[in-house]
């Protein structure tokens, strides 16, 4: 391993307040019936700030503010003016992107190079993309609305959107939720994840800076109960959730029998298929990116490597050599490849499943790797000799742990890839074009990366088949979730 001098990004660019209130109706307010929770830096366990935990009365307050803003300001506003507010927000995000990237890295534990080079550019791009849709909704390709719901020539917004997002890409998930909702003319109440609320609160300041009308965006921080109160509030017209399949199911039950439109982006257990003619070095880069990007805290992570038996030894040898060069440590260091696990609870989950992998008979391997003493860390890990029945081949680990399985024929690869209740993403590595298309046709997954992995773009629809949820985010497909089409 080469020795690199430390190259820490300065955190002085961020001004973290000791406490934060809820952002409701354009102002930061104290919670009326909730408590507070502490957001910590998972790389050091230091407390970053104390944030409010919204209770039912706070949620009600936020939903009413969103309703008023929808009826009086945002709904009636011409699309071209909604667009201008979204363009403003996109610009401010670009202008303050260093600050947002450092804060994201501090609160989440992800490497600064990923927050800086992946998350933030995508966040700004997402607002730019949907800003342009705000005055073009009639051209989004949803056809004419059914006559009985017909209320005008153009697709109409739904009203107030309740949005609950996860901790793995806090600001990016916020952008995926808020940008299309606002472009379509809805107002929102968003609940960030319990462990990563800080960039959403900084985003609230950006809304103020953009002079976004009060009540159009409301941010209610809290944990599961706050999210439940929001989803179940009778005043919301739309529920959008990204998170675990288990919670997604509970939300689907909670909205049953209501008029709330629901979209869900849930878990995954993606197969990354490497055929015998794949360029090994490129495939190994893709495997590493697929499972170790963002510490594996990625719903579309390529967590099951399916490698053709004839090249398995060669691929694994090369993969191990590459893994030995991954730098695990200080997320703010610009050379860091793998940062901190987001929370103690998540670390415990990863450990539990990894222990189950060993107990069920798979062989565990990690490169020699020194982990910091404080904070939550897990060395990049692969399991070989994994069977389809093993828990590590079936359950989402959501950490830097790869399960390796082999196959002999393309048909077997497809069979194994689809042998999961999930269907979010998949990867294919081969030099043969017709094989890519043949395989892609047969994979039951919403996103298929061929000879690449973990690529995202605001124009490109993202979302799952089967128990990975329904609805798409990104592209014109993403507007559908927020329109009466």
């Amino acid at each position: 391993m080469f020795e690199y001098a430390p190259a820490p990004e300065s955190r002085s660019v961020v001004d973290i307040k000791p406490t934060y209130g809820l952002f409701i109706d354009g102002r930061f307010v104290d919670p009326s019936d909730g408590g507070s929770l502490k957001s910590i830096n998972p790389a050091s366990e230091e407390v970053l700030a104390e944030v409010a935990e919204g209770g039912p009365a706070d949620v009600d307050h936020a939903v009413r503010a969103a309703r008023t803003a929808y009826e009086q300001v945002w709904g009636p506003m011409p699309g071209r003016d909604r667009a201008k507010y979204l363009f403003r927000i996109a610009r401010i995000i670009q202008e303050r992107s260093r600050e947002l990237a450092v804060l994201e890295s501090l609160d989440n534990g992800k490497p600064i190079k990923e927050a800086r080079d992946v998350d933030l550019p995508l966040v700004a791009a997402h607002f730019f993309y949907y800003a342009g849709w705000a005055d073009k909704l009639a051209y989004a390709g949803f056809g004419r609305p059914p006559t009985s719901q017909h209320s005008g020539p153009d697709p109409q917004p739904l009203g107030v959107a309740a949005q609950v997002i996860p901790w793995n890409f806090p600001l990016l998930m916020l952008a995926w939720k808020i940008a299309p909702a606002l472009a379509a003319g809805n107002t929102v109440v968003l609940k960030p994840a319990e462990t990563t609320p800080l960039t959403a609160l900084l985003f609230a300041e950006i809304c103020q800076q953009a002079d976004l009308p009060a009540g159009v965006v409301n941010i209610v921080t809290g944990a599961g109960e706050t999210g439940r109160a929001l989803v179940e509030h009778p005043g919301v017209d739309k529920v959008a959730f990204t998170g675990s399949t288990e919670v997604g199911r509970a939300i689907a039950r909670a909205v049953a029998g209501t008029r709330k439109k629901l979209t869900l982006e849930l878990g995954g257990k993606a197969a990354n298929i490497v055929f015998d003619d794949a360029p090994v070095d490129q495939a190994v880069e893709g495997i590493v990116n697929g499972i170790f990007f963002n510490q594996g805290h990625v719903c579309c992570a390529g967590s099951r490597l399916l490698v053709q038996e004839s090249v398995a030894d060669q691929v694994l040898e090369s993969l191990k050599r590459r893994m030995a060069r991954l730098r695990v440590g200080d997320p703010l260091d610009k050379n860091t490849d793998i940062g901190a696990i987001n929370s103690a609870a998540q670390l415990a989950r990863i450990r539990e499943l990894s222990d189950a992998g060993s107990a069920e008979g798979a062989q565990r391997w990690s490169p020699p790797c020194e982990l910091p003493e404080r904070g939550f860390w897990f060395a990049p890990t692969i399991f070989t000799g994994v069977t389809q029945a093993h828990r590590i081949a079936r359950e989402e680990i959501f950490g830097p742990v790869l399960s390796v399985l082999t196959f002999r024929t393309p048909a077997e690869a497809v069979e194994k890839a689809n042998n999961t209740p999930y269907g979010l993403s998949a990867g294919i590595w081969t030099d043969k074009g017709s094989r890519i298309l043949w395989t892609a046709d047969r994979l039951r997954a919403g996103v298929v990366w061929a000879n690449t992995f973990n690529k995202f773009d605001p124009t490109s629809p993202f979302g799952g088949y089967k128990e990975s949820g329904y609805g798409r985010e990104g592209g014109r497909h993403g507007l559908e979730a927020y329109l009466n089409v």
């Binding site: 009985s148 997604g248 039950r253 909205v255 849930l266 061929a450 773009d457 490109s460 088949y465």
Partner: protein
């Protein structure tokens, strides 16, 4: 000379391209006929048949599916008088026939209208394509018996899904007769399966069935039952079409939402390079 004694028809279920009686051996009297009273087991059998038909139907070319749907319209037109004799108004039969024709044409157009290339910011080919979700359970509206039924079956299956439909309990004869139309239209067995009987008996089984991918609750008029079915559907995160409003106009332009709700969008990325 005595008058000729007519040959009466036995009205049965339509599962896997065949016309079985209910495995329960039961029937119920409706529209002056004994009609099969489908059981929960019949519903499960229908799902098995529908699942078996997915690969062939979803894998058929869009052109081929369109041809077959158009053939259904031809067969329906030929039986116009038969449906009128069952009490279906002539204008409803005509509208139902026209609806088959309308949906037949969508088979090779919806993927263009609803999918396409995405201009991503990088050197990548990026294409989104709609694909069928799989097996769809459908609760047909109580009325209009034929147009309502056609308006829920055709959008589900034209895109490559297979269907298990619970027909109108009070007017099932049009559904069973439609099954005869489907059986003579080159439609592969199992693509459409029709159950007659009580909704409360078959539909909860379909709603909670783990090998069903989506459910269309259009014909459910009891709000509590609709909520209960949606809770059942949540177990494997079925795609859900909620009940139609009571005043829904079945003769109006249906839009594309019925089709798109029962589709998955697959997006494929590939780098560009030399």
């Amino acid at each position: 000379m005595s008058e000729r004694v007519a040959v009466r028809k036995t009205y049965k279920l339509f599962i896997g391209g065949k016309f079985p009686r209910s495995e329960s051996g039961r029937s119920y009297l409706v529209q002056d006929s004994n009609v099969s009273l489908a059981s929960r087991k019949d519903a499960r059998d229908a799902v098995v048949a529908a699942r078996a038909a997915v690969q062939g139907w979803a894998g058929a070319t869009a052109y081929n599916r369109g041809q077959i749907l158009y053939r259904v319209a031809e067969m329906l037109e030929g039986r116009r008088e038969q449906f009128v004799a069952l009490g279906v108004p002539a204008d409803e039969v005509d509208a139902a026939t026209d609806r088959w024709v309308w949906y037949a044409g969508w088979s090779d157009k919806l993927p263009q209208v609803y999918g396409g290339a995405n201009p991503v910011a990088g050197p990548y080919f990026n294409l989104s394509t709609p694909e069928p979700t799989g097996v769809v359970a459908v609760v047909a509206p109580e009325a209009p018996a034929l147009l309502g039924l056609v308006s829920v079956i055709a959008p589900a299956m034209v895109t490559g899904n297979t269907v298990v439909v619970a027909a109108s309990p009070s007017a099932p004869l049009a559904a069973v007769t439609l099954a005869e139309v489907l059986a003579t239209s080159d439609l592969p067995g199992g693509v459409v399966n029709i159950l007659t009987g009580h909704l409360t008996e078959t539909v909860p089984t379909l709603a909670s069935h783990l090998d069903v991918n989506a459910i269309d609750l259009t014909g459910v008029t009891d709000a509590d039952l609709a909520a209960e079915l949606e809770v059942g559907a949540a177990q494997n995160l079925k795609r859900v079409l909620r009940p139609a409003p009571a005043d829904h106009d079945w003769f109006a332009d249906p839009g594309i939402t019925r089709m798109t709700t029962l589709l998955e969008t697959k997006t494929v990325w590939h780098p560009k390079g030399v």
